[in-house]
Symmetry: C2
Subunit: 337 residues, 2 copies
């Protein structure tokens, strides 16, 4: 391994001078020396050792992307399509700015804090569901934190979210406006304080506003895979009064469409469906899915914008961004009027 000291020796200066040149503090160094040092760096193939740097400067240039899972069972980081979309964008931007990205799943606050401390992390992206007190331990670390899709509004953290409530409200309202009165809600398991709960509340709110009584029996919760969707379909067809269905995630909507078609139901003639997310799949299913569009890529970019600003020590004018959604009408909803 080529060290800074090797460069120093090769050029006949001290290690500090080499370090200064590397860090662009070259106002203290003659042009001639700078050139000699840079040449030696090229020649010998010097690569800075981040461990040493991090140790002495207590800044590691590492940013963590941490996903909080409740249990270890389904611990796959990438199950949510948002993650994949966001991480790609985040990695690219961070890299351009000289930062590194570490990926991690944690089960609890302690694990998270330990992770950050171990590596002297410079910043944190955080997704998942959590209680306020989860963050007490985080706040003490005094590093930039950007929350993604969090409904915890702890002061001091940046937050990039989505109008989940309003989006789902609009999805439901759209069905109501098309003359539907019996509208079910299907969703992956709704957890307290999460995105899906907001979407559920938006659905209920739209019903209430239209004077339609809420019925527990037509709320269907299951995993997102095709087989679980088929199970849901068994339940759905037992409610022949249903003409419309709001589904809180497009992947699930697609699964349910498949399941219903297998049972001989026609979409939208027998049942209308509105999804949520507008993933690329949604225009590919048959019929193309009417859904609530969100810009996941933008969400990722805004998150990393926040992070970079925080890292540069700027004081922010805003710490909270809630992206809006819009309804994309395709062909999965029938007009009953």
């Amino acid at each position: 391994m080529v060290t800074i000291r090797d460069i120093a020796e090769a050029t006949g200066v001290s290690a500090t001078t080499v370090s200064n040149v590397i860090h662009g503090k070259d106002n203290r160094v003659s042009a001639e020396t700078i050139q000699k040092i840079n040449e030696a760096i090229k020649e010998l193939g010097y690569v800075p050792n981040m461990s040493a740097r991090s140790l002495v400067s207590s800044s590691s240039r590492v940013i963590g992307f941490v996903n909080h899972v409740i249990t270890r069972e389904n611990t796959n980081f990438m199950e949510d399509p948002f993650h994949s979309a966001a991480i790609g964008a985040i990695e690219a931007t961070l890299r351009e700015n000289g930062y590194f990205l570490m990926l991690r799943t944690v089960e609890n606050a302690e694990e998270l804090v330990t992770f950050l401390q171990r590596w002297n992390m410079d910043g944190l992206f955080f997704t998942g569901i959590f209680k306020d007190k989860f963050f007490d331990s985080l706040a003490g670390l005094h590093i930039p934190v950007v929350l993604l899709d969090s409904y915890v509004h702890t002061s001091g953290f940046c937050n990039v979210g989505l109008e989940d409530f309003t989006g789902s409200y609009n999805a439901t309202k759209h069905l109501i406006e098309k003359g539907h009165r019996h509208i079910g809600f299907a969703s992956p398991n709704i957890k307290d304080g999460g995105v899906l709960q907001e979407r559920f509340l938006g659905y209920k709110s739209a019903l209430a506003e239209a004077g339609i009584p809420f019925e527990k029996g037509i709320v269907f919760q299951q995993e997102m895979d095709l087989n679980s969707c088929r199970l849901i379909c068994n339940d759905i067809v037992e409610h022949p009064e249903l003409t419309g269905l709001v589904v809180s995630a497009d992947i699930m909507a697609a699964g349910i469409m498949t399941g219903l078609k297998e049972k001989g139901k026609r979409i939208p003639d027998d049942i209308s469906i509105v999804g949520f997310d507008d993933i690329s799949l949604s225009q590919l299913v048959d019929p193309p899915l009417t859904t609530i569009h969100q810009d996941m890529n933008l969400k990722g970019r805004l998150a990393v914008d926040f992070m970079l600003q925080l890292l540069s020590g700027k004081t922010l004018d805003t710490t909270e961004i809630t992206l809006s959604t819009r309804l994309v009408e395709r062909s999965s909803v029938k007009d009953l009027r």
Copy 2:
């Protein structure tokens, strides 16, 4: 920050003893002292500093997952659904074994080597297309390397791949057996030495074997997004003789199906389609897509298996695994016989 020295002071022993206890080298320490130290660690909330550890032991416990891109243009790490699937599995397993995962895109070998050296990486997962000489610099680092879907068989590296050629050969043969004689090939841009090239060669080989002349004019290359697929469809409909199409990725197959349906073509009546990958979407499109199935999750798990074995210093019986594929018949192929 609580250091090992704080623990040492609190318990009245030396730093070395604390270090020994932490690392389970406690044969040199009395049971009583061990307990006192462990209590102090809990009490004071000691967290080991990985930078310091890495600096002195030249092992960082960090594994890199690096994707090689040819240009910086489309630099999103996650565009390939395989990556998301694999990374989740890899992160989980590495974490369980006390390793950390760093994500990174690189443009060339130099960038890769620098990345690995900066952090003293313990291992590397690598995906992407590359020339043999790309690896010469890698070999000198003497760290475990696991290649994913690589068609470079440099000795010394582990390799987890797929029977891309055979899969695509079978897809094409399937159409031929169903009586098709005019079979096109659609694909994202085929690059030398990559997965897509193998799939292309498999297609050609099946044609050749059946005595069907290869026609350049019915090979369609485009990006994977829906609009590019529509462009392809413009071309496709200008070849009315085509009754079958092999598509080298399901995402694209779905896009093409949509595009063709928009143009009034019926699938499979007017044109039959066979995809590749069997992503979850493939059973959701209409008609459900006949495709070549691969187990991406298994690919990720095998890769991390390799890595863990290499890290533990075992000598491996195999360093190369090529997963097989299988044809999944759904409803996108018409029997012409």
